[in-house]
């Protein structure tokens, strides 16, 4: 009953701050839109200057292929140049990301099978753009029939056939687990222990410490209200994200049930973690400073944006104890693979253990004195 009173108090206070409610919902959605549009998975619109030294068949074919890349996936934006020196100067200045030079004897050498070459001058300070341009140009050359840059054609070459195990997930859809976890993080940060920090800041906490409320009542109540609010926000964000990105469901009820379980466990874990960290402070400024830091160290190594497999080993170790990494993995499995409980049982086990440890630590280390 006492704990319910604490929960009730927080919910009433939260309801009376509609701006906070609106921002808690809006921010993760904006995150999805901004993150989705700034990373976009594949790069587009990279300016490539082309110096075409001759008008032969192979040369024209290569250019056509590049035009197809420009018109199709928009990876490149082609600029026709006459002077090679001027074009390279353009890369140095930053006008272009690369210059493709097709030499005068290109078509002749192609026809004669006489080691034809093209030159690709890259702005290698921007490695992400460079590798995309390299890949696009290599692809265009492939389609000319021969690869003159890196791969030599060999007889008896093995062709690989790619089979997708799951349905195609586009980049926007792949961000949804991260955005839901981001909503959980923001919710856990602005409810729960934050209410305690604000109570202390306003000097209201003293009157509560003078009542028969126990440590468990206080910590449990604050975490309970935070859990309710954050779960509601996360589910709302989830629904909005699904509507924006159009992820289909095969077994809606089962998938939705597991999503709720993952959200609840993650929220409880993060709320307890916040309590452990913020439970001793009395100034919202400290929450402000810590929030940015915590978001970076929990969100970026979670696999929400970049696969954990590509992390250096020290960061992999951190990802192994990062609750958000397990949550993101579980949500990815449920949303994109629909493979059932076995695939996420590890994640659920870790999250449950994390909750148990953090909650116990939060309650035992909470200082009821002022």
């Amino acid at each position: 009953m006492r704990m319910m009173a604490v929960i009730d108090r927080d919910l009433k206070k939260f309801r009376r701050n509609p701006l906070v409610v609106a921002m808690s919902v809006l921010m993760p959605v904006l995150y999805l839109l901004i993150l989705g549009h700034s990373f976009q998975g594949k790069l587009t619109g990279l300016p490539l200057a082309v110096v075409q030294g001759e008008q032969g068949t192979a040369s024209r074919q290569l250019l056509e292929n590049l035009r197809a890349v420009e018109a199709g996936p928009h990876t490149l934006e082609l600029y026709s140049m006459v002077d090679q020196e001027e074009a390279i100067a353009g890369v140095r200045k930053g006008d272009y990301k690369a210059v493709l030079v097709i030499p005068r004897d290109f078509t002749r050498r192609v026809t004669q099978h006489n080691r034809p070459e093209i030159g690709l001058f890259l702005d290698n300070t921007d490695s992400i753009s460079s590798s995309s341009i390299q890949a696009a140009v290599t692809g265009a050359l492939h389609a000319v029939g021969q690869d003159y840059v890196t791969i030599r054609e060999q007889a008896g070459e093995t062709y690989q056939r790619e089979i997708n195990l799951f349905r195609k997930v586009d980049y926007f859809q792949s961000l949804v687990p991260g955005v839901v976890i981001m909503a959980v993080f923001l919710g856990s940060l602005t409810t729960g222990a934050f209410n305690l920090v604000m109570d202390r800041f306003l000097g209201v906490d003293e009157s509560y410490m003078l009542t028969p409320l126990t440590k468990t009542d206080i910590v449990g109540g604050l975490i309970g209200s935070g859990l309710f609010i954050t779960t509601c926000i996360a589910l709302l964000i989830f629904t909005i994200s699904i509507l924006i990105t159009g992820i289909p469901f095969n077994h809606f009820l089962r998938q939705f049930f597991f999503i709720v379980v993952v959200i609840i466990l993650t929220t409880l874990g993060l709320l307890s973690l916040m309590f452990l960290i913020l439970g001793r402070f009395n100034h919202p400024r400290i929450v402000g400073i810590l929030s940015g830091f915590l978001n970076v160290i929990l969100f970026f190594p979670s696999g929400a944006i970049y696969p954990i497999a590509s992390f250096p080993s020290w960061l992999k170790i951190f990802a192994r104890i990062n609750p958000e990494a397990y949550a993101v993995h579980a949500l990815q499995c449920i949303l994109f693979k629909d493979v059932g409980l076995t695939a996420i049982s590890n994640d659920l086990f870790f999250l449950a253990t994390f909750v148990l440890i953090m909650l116990t630590a939060a309650i035992t280390t909470f200082n009821r004195k002022i």
């Binding site: 009953m1 009730d8 209201v204 009542t211 409320l213 009395n282 400024r285 004195k369 002022i370």
Partner: protein, 334 residues
């Protein structure tokens, strides 16, 4: 003491590093008494009240509050007492009713009883018509009234008030004192308070303890304390100029106990002020000094207070953390 004891403090001490905020204090408060603890800023009043109300753990010593030990059974103590801290602690985002309702639920008071008690208390403190308004819209006086009503919801045996009227206008102060007396009579409560206002302590407290530098300097009823200091009246004179021979002469008059000089003001603690005023004035005239104004008043608790604690201003020092200033974890004394 024959009366039943509500608070029994024995050798209670609170140290913060080298600083001793409360130094080995012992006293008792009888049931039904209004007991005032007076003292300059930083004397240790709030630290004492916080130890008695279980917010702070004493460094040594103990206290029995409503029959329960504060160190061993703080949760039992909390059930028996109501405390209004110095700072305003009502929740701004809740209505007056909600503030009281949630507090009542902390004490597991059944819904029906709670509702009845809240309405009764809000009626008494004159906030019934504003019950459903947010506390954020209340004035300081209204918040204080609500906070007093709130801590009475579980009918505590002892009510602790830490400077309940500080910062309030005279009307609000008067109203709050009316309530305190009303509740005391109705529920036979013991009231333990701290205050800066000497006239309030003198008028309303059965007994007062003057605390300075963490120790009780003197304890007793206001009348007893006034009787203990020499002289019965204070004569205050405004003089054109005050010379050394003049003060020497006044000091040696048989009815003068002590004098103090501040600029053009001369204050003398005397017996029978009205009778001896003429003689005092004549002595001054003999010295060739000119009297601009003269007043006599009966000695008050304030004179007792100044007598024991001196006139020097106390600038309280609060320890602020070197690393994060006011955002420090609250292990430091306030």
């Amino acid at each position: 003491m024959q009366d039943k004891v509500a608070v029994e403090v024995s050798g209670i001490t609170k140290k913060y590093g080298n600083f001793t905020a409360v130094n080995d204090i012992s006293f008792t408060v009888a049931e039904g008494e209004i007991f005032g603890s007076l003292g300059p800023n930083g004397a240790g009043k709030t630290t004492l009240i916080r130890m008695l109300t279980t917010l702070l753990k004493p460094s040594s010593g103990d206290a029995l509050v409503a029959g329960c030990e504060v160190v061993k059974h703080p949760e039992e103590v909390r059930r028996q007492i109501g405390v209004v801290p110095q700072a305003m602690t009502s929740d701004l985002d809740l209505t007056a009713y909600e503030n009281m309702d949630i507090y009542g639920r902390f004490y597991n008071i059944p819904t029906k009883e709670r509702r009845q008690r809240i309405n009764e208390l809000l009626e008494t403190v004159g906030l019934f018509s504003r019950a459903n308004e947010l506390v954020a819209s209340f004035s300081g006086g209204m918040r204080r009234r609500l906070e007093i009503a709130r801590v009475l919801i579980h009918k505590p045996k002892i009510l602790f008030l830490d400077e309940p009227t500080t910062g309030l206008d005279p009307q609000s102060r008067r109203v709050i004192w009316d309530f305190i007396q009303q509740f005391r009579k109705g529920d036979a409560m013991t009231i333990f308070l701290t205050t800066h206002y000497m006239e309030e302590a003198e008028e309303f407290c059965d007994r007062v303890a003057i605390i300075d530098h963490g120790k009780i300097v003197v304890i007793g009823s206001p009348a007893e304390l006034k009787a203990q200091i020499p002289g019965s009246d204070t004569i205050t004179l405004r003089l054109e100029n005050i010379s050394e021979p003049l003060t020497g002469r006044i000091r040696h008059l048989p009815f003068v106990w002590s004098i103090s000089v501040e600029g053009h003001l001369l204050q003398a603690s005397v017996d029978n002020g009205a009778q001896n005023l003429m003689e005092l004035l004549e002595n001054i005239k003999d010295q060739g000094a000119k009297v601009l104004a003269a007043t006599i008043h009966e000695q008050s608790l304030e004179d007792v207070f100044i007598h024991y604690t001196g006139k020097a201003l106390r600038d309280e020092t609060k320890k602020v953390d070197f690393l994060i200033g006011a955002g420090a974890p609250r292990t430091l004394h306030r």
